[in-house]
Amino acid sequence: MAFEVISRMESGDTAILTLIGELDAAAAPDLRREIELLASGDTVTRLVLVLEELSYMASAGLRALVFAKQKLGARVDLYLVGTQAPVVETIELTGFHRSVVMLETLELPGQATG
């Protein structure tokens, strides 16, 4: 299954990347490129990865998340939204859950709901 990243900005400081399909070793560079693009500007303070439609993540995928965290630095909060159970497990087993905020749905703190 192919991998797709859809990128959009919201309210100037929040970047939302929707990941669809399987994030395997071949796909990981696409994600890294998107992240590098975001990191080149300095307006982003929140990076939201919507993973509802991501069915699989290889180690390379997880590395891309690690890369995101390290590339964007402490000034940017990283949110993972709607992560599917097998992907959650991988993230927890490798300890990455400590570096991100895991959310069920796309309702960010400080953001009006509804």
Partner: protein
């Protein structure tokens, strides 16, 4: 402004079948992801040629084989950077060309692909118990490690050695039992789920039995009685010294064992628990001349192994071969390895299996000043790591007390183990030696201090604590070696019936003996080590060598936490007591004199009469007192502690020494009282009413605390 991308060394100079390369960096050895590609560096003292073999992950046949051009070779090293590799999906190995001349020590075979000894991730056996593929010519495969782990603010804890309480455990055994209730039994991740348990137990250091990649299928065979498969379960047989065992990681199938293990280490540190690795630098998984060629044998046999003049393998380890640790090349590898684990994994200490071998010359003769041991002792990276030797080997070199320590090395004190066992099983005339063991063995470690002594009654080798008091003989038939394996000198006693018993008197006696061992262990000077499960009376059904048992003989049954809740509580309160009382944790030996003007020696010996220890060859009673004003060499104020040990089969009355005003004695623990009444929370001790007469039940230990009757916080001179 020039940028790094403009550097000339970022451009390839060579091409091989479409793969672009240039001369690589010799350091670091191994395969390293670099800005411009992957750098491969390997050495062999006797090879004539070297070829890098690259695979796409999991595929049987190589992607490409790239011979090292002569200009990429300096000295005996081969280094090459290969560009544009898919680092996530890469596996690599080497073909070494050179002489096949076993009599001269050379076993080069270019038909074989061999593993890089510096491989930092080893794939191919990613899931525990998933067997080798018969036709795969390259079973254990080098992969790349990514050093991008987020350690946050973690660093090694550097807990003072005298404050440690070590818990020796096997990664898989700890949680593999179905009763563990964890999501991924038998893994690094599962240990993480059990950190609250370790914390509540009061241990502040876990010593993990081997976690370097090993092959559980080495020497595997069915149990002749049951047909059940017997494995190389403990893993004292290394495939690669730089790689964590993939099969111990729930994420091994994803190749993420490094991250999972580091996460465990970070979380243990967060909980205040250090991590020691049990490292096996005495032999490898390649066995003798009939064993497989995995790595070292094919890479540089004569360098890595101790060989007889005829080219056969010396066998000081009892397992087929002996690593040639005092060859300078191998010595460097061992140093590189330990530095790597200390720096990259934040490991707090190392326990060296059969460490006496590390002091042997390439000829096998013991060295007076072994360069490897000296190097490790003075290394700047390892400077704060605890180094602990199992100070003997299978070749008859026994160095407990005489291991070349350079002021740095501690030892597994085998004499502590044996003396306590003889004492608690009521052997007469052990008092004098027992006194030495309780004091941190100054007879063995006079200039090295009490922390040179790792005190233990049980360890992975030998009986569990419960089996020590339930079996006179080992029962190792399940190992399929006709009960010939495992130690015969166990100093054990079955308390009247061999194995399980319904007799309430026997059950009670066994419980008391176990409590005696624990009480002595946690009030001795030195570093106490508890074997996994002894706190809940784990049994191996009399098997004293479960090295091949991946089953309930080895696994910790978590139902025992309830079944033996009293013993668990007893252990927890003892560790809490030890942490509370610095007087139990002196770094240096006691002088048995008063050097602070308290009127009491720092440590004094007593018998049935106060101040009159009985050193006669028939005595089984002994008591000691620690003066609280001498805690930590007189720098800290603590309570007084008095421990009376009656190993006689009849009850005895001890005269308790008088305390200075205004202190009085309080009773913390009495192993003669079964159940919860036999011990209390530290600080909530009951007043000892019958001073000076302490009546001790047969075979029991009492621990008293001398303190002010009022709350100690109210006493200005007893500042905390």
């Amino acid at each position: 402004m020039s940028t790094v991308s403009g550097r000339i060394d970022f451009y390839p100079t060579h091409n091989h079948e479409g793969y672009r390369m240039r001369a690589g960096d010799i350091f670091p050895f191994g395969a390293t992801v670099a800005a411009s590609g992957v750098n491969f560096s390997v050495f062999s003292s006797h090879a004539t040629d070297c070829t890098l073999v690259l695979f796409k992950k999991g595929e049987r046949d190589p992607l490409v084989e790239i011979p090292f051009p002569p200009e990429f070779r300096i000295g005996n090293t081969y280094a090459m950077t290969v560009f544009d590799l898919d680092v996530e999906n890469l596996e690599y190995g080497y073909r070494m060309d050179g002489p096949w001349d076993p009599a001269a020590g050379h076993r080069f075979d270019p038909t074989k692909i061999v593993l890089d000894p510096y491989a930092r991730v080893i794939g191919g056996r990613d899931v525990w118990g998933a067997g080798p593929e018969g036709d795969n010519p390259y079973q254990h495969r080098g992969r790349l490690a990514f050093d991008d782990f987020d350690w946050e603010r973690d660093r090694p804890l550097e807990i003072p050695a005298e404050d440690l309480i070590i818990y020796e455990m096997h990664v898989r055994s700890f949680t593999r039992h179905p009763s563990s209730g964890v999501r991924n039994p038998g893994t690094f991740a599962a240990i993480r789920e059990k950190i609250p348990y370790l914390k509540s137990l009061g241990v502040n250091c876990v010593e993990l039995m081997p976690v370097y990649e090993f092959d559980e299928f080495e020497g595997h065979r069915p149990n002749p009685e049951t047909g059940e498969m017997l494995f190389n379960y403990w893993g004292y047989s290394t495939v690669g010294f730089f790689a964590p065992k993939a099969g111990y990681a729930a994420t091994g199938r994803l190749g993420m064992q490094v991250d999972e293990f580091k996460t465990l280490l970070k979380e243990l540190h967060r909980a205040g628990i250090e991590v020691f690795l049990d490292v096996v630098f005495n032999h490898t998984a390649e066995g003798n001349e009939n064993g497989p060629t995995i790595s070292f044998r094919g890479l540089d046999n004569k360098t890595y192994y101790m060989l007889t003049p005829e080219g056969y393998y010396f066998n000081f380890s009892g397992t087929g071969n002996t690593l040639n640790c005092n060859n300078p090349v191998v010595r460097s590898m061992v140093l590189d390895c330990l530095r790597y684990w200390a720096a990259e994994y934040h490991i707090d200490g190392f326990r060296f299996d059969l460490a006496a071998i590390l002091g042997r010359a390439p000829s096998g003769a013991p060295l007076n000043n072994p360069p490897l041991l000296e190097t490790l002792a003075f290394d700047p990276v390892l400077a704060k790591c605890k180094l602990i030797a199992e100070a003997w080997d299978a070749g008859g070199l026994y160095q407990v007390g005489s291991f070349p320590a350079y002021g740095r090395w501690g030892e597994w004190n085998g004499k502590y183990r044996d003396t306590v066992r003889r004492f608690i099983t009521s052997e007469a005339g052990v008092n004098r030696e027992m006194a030495q063991r309780i004091m941190g063995s100054p007879d063995l470690y006079r200039d090295r201090g009490a922390t040179a002594s790792v005190n233990f009654v049980t360890a992975h080798d030998g009986f569990t604590l419960r089996d020590l008091v339930s079996y006179n003989e080992k029962h190792n038939y399940a190992n399929g070696e006709n009960n010939q394996d495992g130690a015969n000198d166990n100093y054990s006693w079955n308390c009247g019936a061999e194995g399980p018993s319904d007799d309430p008197a026997i059950i009670e006696l066994r419980g008391r003996l176990m409590r005696n061992a624990l009480a002595i262990l946690f009030t001795s000077q030195g570093i106490p080590m508890l074997l996994m499960g002894d706190e809940v009376a784990r049994t191996q059904r009399g098997n004293n060598n479960t090295y091949c048992q991946d089953n309930e003989l080895s696994w910790l049954d978590w139902r025992l936490l309830e079944e033996n809740a009293d013993q668990l509580r007893f252990t927890r309160l003892l560790t809490a007591f030890r942490h509370r009382h610095p007087v139990l944790r002196n770094r240096w030996h006691h002088s048995q004199r008063d050097y602070v003007g308290s009127g009491y020696p720092d440590l004094s010996w007593h018998g049935l009469r106060a101040w009159q220890p009985d050193w006669s060859p028939w005595s089984r009673m002994l008591a000691f007192m620690l003066c609280g004003r001498h805690a930590r060499g007189g720098t800290v104020l603590d309570d007084y502690i008095y421990v009376a040990m009656n190993m006689h089969w009849e009850g005895q009355g001890f005269e308790v020494p008088r305390l200075p005003e205004p202190l009085s004695w309080f009773e913390f623990a009495n192993t003669g009282i079964p159940g919860p009444q036999g011990i209390c929370e530290p600080g909530e001790e009951r007043r000892f009413e019958n001073f000076p007469n302490l009546s001790l039940a047969p075979r029991s230990v009492a621990i008293l605390v001398g303190k002010t009757p009022a709350d100690r916080e109210e006493q200005p001179w007893l500042s905390k």
